[in-house]
């Protein structure tokens, strides 16, 4: 058999390149693990975050004012709502009884409950049952409405159900649009501040300025500063897009200012976190796979796509320590619900603590030597 020298040469070259690439792949266990780990995490996190069943929606029940005594209708309604469930799933509602409509409304405004049912004090069938729903959440309003309707029907009630969407009708694009603002900030930050530091390290630029008297804190603050501005611009552009295209309505100038302030705070926080992380990495590849993983975890559990209520317990727990959750919650409160500083104070405090910790972490972990 004769071998064509050209073909032989081609295979040899291809094999050489294959071997080199594969050897490099094997020599970097961190990237291998991340490469395999990512799809698995996608499956677990994404699958659970998006596909979960929503149960235990906090629902208030109250009897119409003036309250004289509990009617059998109210008692029966409360009972049936508490036990209502779909097929073999846990109860759909977690029912709380209120003494008067005022306190129920306050609970709804402060988002302790997602909806409340007002039973008429009179049992006559023509008296309407009122349902007030927090319409700023995705899926939950529909579930509440159908659950309440089914419960009333199973009691054989002929009373009409009057539904009040307290924040008007909100489309999914508006709900999701607010989440995308935060996503834009995170994406820009990943590729912005963090990668800039690593590029400096990888290209050796850092060796040049580490021998100047510039302080470690100056390097960190400068990097966070530039990253923040970029992230803010990205977030702000998405915010404008939400207004112009998704039809998000700004209720007042004050709301607008509040959104800008929250955006800035989130930008500083997320940029600081990314900068703190990046100062520990020396290769762009390792950094990118780690941050992509972090991004997945934080974004999926932020409630941007899907209500946190629908997540399994172990995943929902992550939202408590997830700065993006607070960021999205604060932005939704202002943008979709028209709420003010009083409601988002907790969110702001959480983001503030996170930001300060991230900056301190950034300065502390930053290496002033090149080893």
């Amino acid at each position: 058999m004769t071998r064509d020298p050209d073909t032989h040469g081609m295979f040899r070259g291809a094999l050489a390149i294959f071997t080199r690439d594969f050897r490099k792949f094997l020599s970097n266990p961190f990237v291998i693990i991340m490469t395999l780990f990512m799809p698995i995490m996608y499956l677990i996190v994404f699958g659970n975050a998006m596909g979960g069943t929503i149960t235990g929606i906090p629902l208030g029940v109250v009897q119409e004012d003036p309250f004289v005594g509990e009617t059998p209708f109210y008692l029966a309604g409360t009972e049936i709502l508490s036990t209502y469930h779909q097929e073999d799933k846990p109860s759909l509602f977690q029912v709380t009884a209120f003494d008067d409509e005022g306190s129920a409304r306050e609970a709804l405004d402060t988002r302790r409950i997602s909806a409340y049912v007002v039973f008429p004090s009179d049992i006559t069938p023509n008296r309407e049952v009122r349902l007030y729903v927090d319409s700023s959440e995705y899926m939950i309003p529909t579930l509440v409405q159908s659950g309440v309707q089914a419960s009333l029907a199973s009691m054989g009630s002929k009373n009409p159900l009057q539904i009040y969407n307290i924040y008007g009708t909100i489309n999914y694009i508006q709900f999701f649009g607010v989440g995308v603002i935060v996503m834009a900030i995170f994406m820009t930050t990943m590729m912005g501040g963090g990668i800039a530091l690593i590029r400096d390290r990888e290209m050796g630029i850092i060796e040049g300025y580490l021998v100047t008297p510039v302080k470690r804190s100056s390097i960190i603050l400068g990097t966070i500063g530039s990253g923040t501005v970029r992230a803010f611009l990205a977030g702000f552009i998405i915010f404008l897009t939400d207004i112009l295209i998704a039809g998000v309505v700004m209720r007042s100038i004050w709301s607008f200012v509040l959104v800008v302030c929250v955006l800035l705070l989130i930008c500083v926080g997320i940029t600081s976190l990314v900068v703190a992380l990046s100062s520990r990495f020396s290769s762009q590849q390792e950094y990118a796979s780690s941050v992509a993983f972090l991004n997945l975890l934080l974004f999926m559990t932020s409630g941007a796509f899907y209500p946190v209520l629908g997540m399994p317990y172990w995943l929902a727990w992550l939202t408590v320590v997830n700065p993006e959750y607070y960021a999205i919650d604060a932005l939704r409160s202002i943008i979709l619900r028209g709420q003010g500083l009083d409601i988002i104070a907790i969110d702001i405090a959480a983001i503030g603590i996170f930001t300060v910790c991230a900056i301190i972490l950034g300065i502390m972990t930053y290496r002033r030597t090149i080893e």
């Binding site: 060796e207 040049g208 580490l210 021998v211 100047t212 008297p213 302080k215 030597t369 090149i370 080893e371």
Partner: protein, 352 residues
Amino acid sequence: MDSRDEGPATEPGAESPLRADGNESCVPGEDSRDIIRINGITKVFGNAPPLTAVDQVSFSVRRGEIFGLLGPNGAGKSTLIRILTTLMMPTSGTACVDRFDVGRDDERVRTIIGVCPQNSTLDVELTAYENLEFYGNLLNVDRDQLPARIWELLKMVNLSDRAHMPVKTFSGGMRRKLEIVRAFLHYPLILFLDEPTIGLDPESRREVWQQVSRLNTMNTTIILTTHYMDEAEKLCHRIAFMNQGRLVALDTPANLKRIIPTGELVEIGYGNGHYDPGVIPRIQAREGVLGIEVHEQLLRISAKNGSQALPGILDDLEQFGITARSITIRAPSLEDVFIYLTGTGLAGGRTE
């Protein structure tokens, strides 16, 4: 001058008069002509297996001199520079840069040094001017004087007309020159140049040398590493030889050459012509001749004074019917000294 007073590396555990008490170790005593004092610096990398890059090195650099660190690749020169410029912590040992203790007073060390590292650290996406401006701000150069200073430096290296072009469009030589002036932006007391001419063409090398000499006339102490012998010989007042992390010798170029006991080398080529081994004992018997080696078509004779011995040697050759086709007399080069001291050559080194 005693040529060996600061000679080979101090033995491990050697006492230093400068470390009498912790914090004040770097305050200059009567010996303030030394601007850098290194005492038993060791740097070990990794642990399985550990690599000792710098091994118990001690020496001093005098104020205002051009000091050369010479050695093959991997001798530990750059590591030593990185320790002195606060980029790395030594595993053990101490070093003083002027009045400041490396590792303890790093921030103040950084204010008095200028560094041109071995690998380019220019931001190639910025222009030449922007690169200098960036460092001017990092180095706290007076805001009002910075633009003038930048133009002065750009002019010094003939880059004024390319000031506003991105560095990525520059040739290797232009980048190197820009990087060297950048290190000098803030009039540092000490300038570290790590392989300043590596990869440059002869023309650019000469320009860099001129620049280094010019900077030195402005009272700047310059420490440069190189593995080019000619460069060290041309520029440096004193040279330290490093090999495998150790300091092998330290002296002026002239004194270093006297270390070799072989004196001068007389090389006589006889081409394809007649050769008679009988001539060897005859030459060897001559006064001043220290040794003789026979190579292919070449006799290499070491003599105390080559030119004095030469006529007699030529007489001997004539008697044995050997015709000298070429004759060279040369003093040992720094490379010969290095080989003599270490038994190895300087990889990639050149001699003129």
